[in-house]
């Protein structure tokens, strides 16, 4: 049928006509699912991973820019209104003198950089580590895995299995994750709070340092928990938890061999009994979800 007023074919809404033609939908869905499963298999075998990382490298500058805009927006939103008025006035004054504004901006950037470098120097003086500072570019888009991407990669010496630390004011530098995948200029860090993150740790007690196994608990509504290997030993609230670095100490050919020993993690907050097992809830020194700047431990011999 045609609409003779504008010479265009007229499309009429069809009456319900059963499920004729839906086999095409099923067929298309099956084909697309097959392609997706194929990509999943190829990725698991590492065949398309380099292409994936390379494509992500291309998109990272735009992603970083958008993340910065979001951070600006959040900070603007959380600023009290009276301060905002003052800032607007300051902005007007700054606009009158562009050269001074640029200078202030440059000095602020230097100040931030200086602050990070001072922190880095303090860490390097206190611990036998060689560390590399990195900005957090983007958090993973899915709640199912706790991963963040940092702006350092293989070209900077970052390797899979390296420990990633951060520091919050008043606290020690502490482990927040382990490098999981490395691109040329970026790297993915699996947070210690992710459920798939498991690490051997030591509990620092007055007379001993028993070994335990720590696992992330984010997907279970908590953060970290630890269970002692030797069940005859007691775990106490307030015990400090640090990495054991067993793979590195035994010189095992594993990714986690790059994990140094005695990297602070957190403190035992609560202990509960589950049958024969003692489970300790850990309060981490640094919340991995809140970090914006991190350091990768490149080597542990200083």
């Amino acid at each position: 049928m045609r609409d003779f007023l504008d010479e265009r074919p007229l499309k009429l809404r069809r009456e319900p006509a059963g499920d004729r033609g839906y086999w095409r939908v099923i067929a298309l869905a099956l084909v697309l699912l097959l392609v997706s499963v194929l990509m999943l298999v190829l990725d698991r075998q590492g065949i398309i991973t380099p292409v994936h990382l390379r494509l992500r490298e291309v998109l990272q500058p735009l992603a970083s820019w958008l993340t910065e805009r979001r951070t600006d927006l959040v900070s603007w939103w959380s600023t009290p209104r009276d301060v905002a008025t003052m800032q607007a006035r300051i902005a007007e004054l700054e606009a009158e003198n562009a050269r001074l504004a640029a200078e202030v901006l440059r000095l602020k950037q230097v100040q931030v950089e200086n602050s990070f470098l001072r922190q880095q120097l303090a860490i390097t003086r206190s611990y036998p580590w060689t560390i590399l500072g990195a900005e957090v570019m983007v958090l993973a888009p899915d709640a199912a895995r706790r991963v963040l991407t940092i702006a350092r990669g293989a070209e900077d010496g970052v390797r899979v299995g390296m420990a990633v630390i951060s520091q919050q004011p008043g606290g020690p530098p502490a482990l927040i994750g382990v490098v999981e995948a490395v691109g040329p200029r970026t790297a993915d860090v699996l947070m210690i709070t992710d459920i798939s993150s498991q690490l051997s740790v030591r509990l620092l007690q007055a007379d001993s340092a028993p070994l335990g196994l720590m696992q992330g608990q984010w997907q279970r509504g908590s953060r970290l928990r630890v269970e002692l290997i030797d069940r005859s030993l007691a775990m106490r609230e307030g015990d400090h938890v640090v990495t054991a670095g067993i793979s590195g100490a035994l010189d095992l050919p594993l990714d986690l061999a790059a994990m140094p020993q005695a990297v602070p993690i957190g403190v035992i907050e609560a202990v509960r009994q589950e049958g024969q097992r003692q489970i300790g809830e850990i309060r981490p020194f640094v919340d991995p979800d809140q970090v914006r700047y991190v350091w990768v431990i490149i080597s542990q011999d200083g």
Partner: protein, 176 residues
């Protein structure tokens, strides 16, 4: 005639490329601007794909409309895979399964009713998160905790943009 046909193919390819780029941009927005400090993000692309399938299935050519929804689901899944850290293809699978199941289940309902869109997106989000859970998390994980900590918050976030998104798609698809 040959010229006409090749031009049509070129136009079709250009349209698909344009759609892929737009969805990629929206994926970037989803993972950067629509994330909360708590780790969740509004699954805008999933809502778009489900909305496209629902609106498409309500047009004069329901099968074709539904199939466009599947293509949107595939493209947006790939875009998220590109930006995410999960195995490549996992978001695409989750999007496709969610859109297929929800689209088939709601094909006889009128998308003009807000409740239909809201229920479709709610079910689609649960299916999407469940498929991701099956694809990625280690076996033996506590699924009840996963439902409480991950699936329910994601569901609530997905409902926020549902009605505006479906209304916009309805307007765009029906007027083009």
């Amino acid at each position: 005639m040959g010229n006409n046909q090749s031009r049509r193919i070129e136009e079709r390819l250009a349209r698909e490329l344009g759609l892929v780029l737009i969805l990629l941009l929206l994926a970037l927005i989803q993972v950067t601007l629509l994330t909360a400090p708590t780790g969740f993000c509004i699954p805008l692309l999933l809502v778009l794909a489900i909305g496209r399938a629902l609106v498409g299935a309500g047009t004069a050519e329901p099968v074709r409309g539904f199939m466009r929804g599947l293509w949107w689901a595939f493209y947006s899944g790939i875009a998220l895979d590109l930006l995410g850290s999960m195995p490549f293809g996992s978001h695409a699978i989750a999007h496709l399964v969610a859109v297929l199941v929800v689209g088939l289940a709601t094909r006889r309902f009128a998308v003009e009713r807000p409740l239909v869109s809201l229920l479709a997106v709610a079910c689609g989000t649960l299916i999407y998160e469940a498929v991701l859970w099956l694809t990625v998390l280690p076996s033996g994980s506590d699924w009840q905790a996963y439902v409480r900590v991950v699936m329910l918050p994601s569901l609530l976030l997905a409902l926020i943009p549902t009605l505006p998104t479906v209304a916009l798609l309805y307007r765009l698809v029906r007027t083009v």
